[in-house]
């Protein structure tokens, strides 16, 4: 303990600490933690048309999981969300790693320019990206058709990628990958640059190839970042909404084939043309999303972060 501060603390009750903490704690509690807790509470209630709320325990969750009107939508949204996440995990993150590996090489000229340009889509809003891609993929304009023809796939040139149940979700997942690949790229790049040169020099002298150096030395060292990228992807994907809403509208068509938890939540809570919104069922879906995201975060913290930290020691 340093003496000056000690004396100071003894003089009087440290009001200044309360003053420093108050603005952040008040705004954060009022607009973040209270709504989260209150929303979880609401998921245990039901309300009639007059707004009277009755406690019903876990009935909303039961309804969501068994009722023939709700169950298929929940199952569909979760399965679609898993597919959406899997495509990000296995396409976006490996591409991000590849780009970062190339950009971390000191021999590549123009690294800063490549990095800045490749990151550009990431700063644009999902709404713009959604519309840009929906006109590019539109058979009316024919841009994607021209591209497919030029690489010898003209049999797919006229396909309405966003209009078919079988292709809409994978296509939108890839659009999202295209937009967000900059984030894993940057995080991997930072981790790769931080590796001490001596380690790599030593391996080079021992005759290791670039490929060998990457997988045997660099990759194990950036495992903590692999975990961070994984959990960020997970949280971001299970909370996604904008892209599907923008391109496929509130019903996440065709025939709910692109419906993910975010659009399901919005539709239920806010309602749509003929169907009024249902706040308590909306809160229930938010509760399911909360549990899924919490499970992912805990799995990362206890299953990955700890183990990787041990390996490092």
């Amino acid at each position: 303990m340093n003496p000056a501060r000690h004396v100071h603390n003894k003089q009087r009750f440290p009001f200044h600490i309360l003053v420093f903490l108050a603005p952040a704690v008040i705004i954060y509690t009022l607009f973040m933690t209270y709504p989260l807790v209150d929303s979880l509470r609401l998921s245990l209630y039901t309300s009639d048309q007059y707004g009277n709320e009755t406690f019903i325990g876990l009935d909303n969750y039961r309804k969501l999981m068994t009722d023939p009107l709700w169950e298929p939508r929940l199952k569909g949204a979760i399965l679609n969300n898993i597919e959406f996440f899997a495509i990000h995990m296995f396409v976006q993150n490996p591409i991000g790693l590849l780009l970062a590996a190339l950009l971390s090489s000191p021999f590549i000229r123009g690294r800063a320019i490549y990095r800045t340009l490749i990151f550009t889509p990431t700063v644009l809003s999902v709404v713009l990206i959604g519309f840009i891609w929906s006109i590019i993929l539109s058979p009316l304009w024919g841009i994607s058709g021209d591209f497919l023809t030029s690489i010898g796939l003209e049999q797919y040139a006229k396909k309405p990628w966003l209009g078919l149940e079988s292709t809409a979700l994978p296509t939108l997942s890839l659009v999202s990958v295209w937009q967000w690949v900059g984030i894993p790229m940057m995080l991997f790049l930072a981790a790769l640059i931080a590796i001490p040169d001596e380690l790599i020099e030593a391996a080079r002298v021992d005759g290791a190839t670039a490929w060998g150096v990457f997988w045997r030395i660099k990759f194990p060292l950036i495992l903590p970042t692999v975990g961070i990228v994984g959990v960020l992807t997970f949280v971001g994907n299970f909370n996604a909404f904008d892209l599907i809403y923008t391109t496929q509208k509130v019903n996440a068509g065709p025939n709910f084939s692109t419906d993910i938890l975010g659009t399901f939540f919005y539709r239920t809570f806010f309602g749509q043309q003929l169907q009024p919104g249902n706040p308590t069922m909306g809160a229930t879906i938010a509760g399911v999303m909360f549990l899924i995201i919490l499970a992912g975060v805990l799995l990362y913290m206890f299953g990955w972060q700890r183990r990787v930290a041990q390996v490092e020691l």
Binding site: N2, A4, R5, P14, I17, V19, F20, L21, A24, V25, I27, Y28, F31, M32, Y34, P35, L36, D38, S39, L42, L98, L99, L102, S105, F107, I108, L117, F119, T120, P121, V123, L124, S125, V126, V127, L128, F131, I132, W133, W141, I143, W178, M186, L187, L189, A190, A191, A210, T225, V235, N239, F241, D242, F269, P279, G282, A286, F290, I293, V297
Partner: protein, 286 residues
């Protein structure tokens, strides 16, 4: 320098092939990242006929047209949307910085009972998305009479930006040298003065917090859609979303509004890209 060039001499044959391959991959990917954006930009200045007949050509004297932009300015209040987005983003950033630096200072500087628990409480929001509380946020905002106001957005974005801001700033403030603060205390400076004194020292972290929050706030669709959807309070993102939804058959208007909505963010990005990239890379090393 010398050792680098001698190294590349030694490795030349295999190495230059590898370099060529690396550049090829990076070039192809850069083209893929920019192609859709450039395509929209150049076609927004062409006639409808040219958009469909020669989509890959730059506009020339024959195909040049700003009809799309005219429609956008006639039918939508883009200047108002910009102003709303600007008010929301700047106000939320100011609040995040004031409340964030104050709380971070308290957590970094003072040992008090519950310090760790407070830090953990404030950090919870880093991983839990604020959207999940939307049902109750809407009720709260209605109850306090802020529904369909920019204030609703400002407060929600402040609350959601604070956790990461406090986390980054606390780590940074812990590194401010002790002597400086103790010297000021011996001189009889109040704790509030010392807080103001150290603010310039954490400027890099403040920059990081700013760029991290700026783009997500500007680009958000969810909360404007739910909390402030009226024409008067629309942000650019929501304004573009509704406009594009209504005018989707008018290709010129679509292309022009996409370009208009993208321009401010791209300018911000060009101005702040160094800061943003430094922030991203510094954050990951920690």
């Amino acid at each position: 320098m010398l050792s680098l060039s001698s190294l590349s001499h030694r490795l030349r044959p295999a190495h230059s092939l590898q370099l060529l391959g690396a550049h090829a991959i990076l070039l192809v990917y850069t083209a893929l990242a920019l192609f859709p954006i450039v395509l929209v930009l150049i076609n927004s200045f062409k006639t409808r006929r040219a958009v469909f007949k020669t989509p890959y050509a730059l506009p020339n004297s024959e195909t040049w047209s700003t009809i799309g932009y005219e429609t956008v300015f006639k039918r939508a209040n883009f200047p108002d949307y910009f102003l709303n987005s600007l008010i929301v983003t700047v106000s939320a950033l100011i609040l995040i910085l004031i409340a964030g630096t104050m709380a971070a200072w308290a957590l970094a500087e003072y040992r008090f009972p519950g310090n760790n628990i407070m830090g953990l409480y404030l950090a919870l929001g880093i991983m839990i998305p604020i959207r999940l509380g939307t049902v109750s946020i809407l009720r709260l905002v209605v109850d306090v009479g802020l529904i369909d106001t920019l204030w609703a957005l400002i407060l929600v974005y402040t609350a959601s930006g604070l956790p990461l801001a406090i986390f980054v700033l606390t780590n940074f403030m812990k590194q401010v040298p002790r002597d400086l603060k103790d010297a000021a205390r011996v001189d009889g400076a109040s704790e509030y003065r010392i807080y103001r004194m150290i603010l310039p020292l954490v400027r890099p972290a403040i920059g990081t917090v700013m760029v991290f929050n700026m783009i997500p706030i500007w680009n958000d669709l969810w909360f404007p859609l739910i909390l402030a959807p009226s024409e008067r309070n629309k942000t650019v993102t929501l304004g573009a979303q509704t406009f594009l939804g209504q005018y989707i058959i008018d290709w010129n208007a679509v292309l022009a509004s996409l370009t208009l909505a993208a321009i401010p963010v791209v300018i911000l990005y060009i101005v702040f890209s160094r800061q943003l990239i430094r922030g991203l890379t510094a954050g990951a090393v920690k």
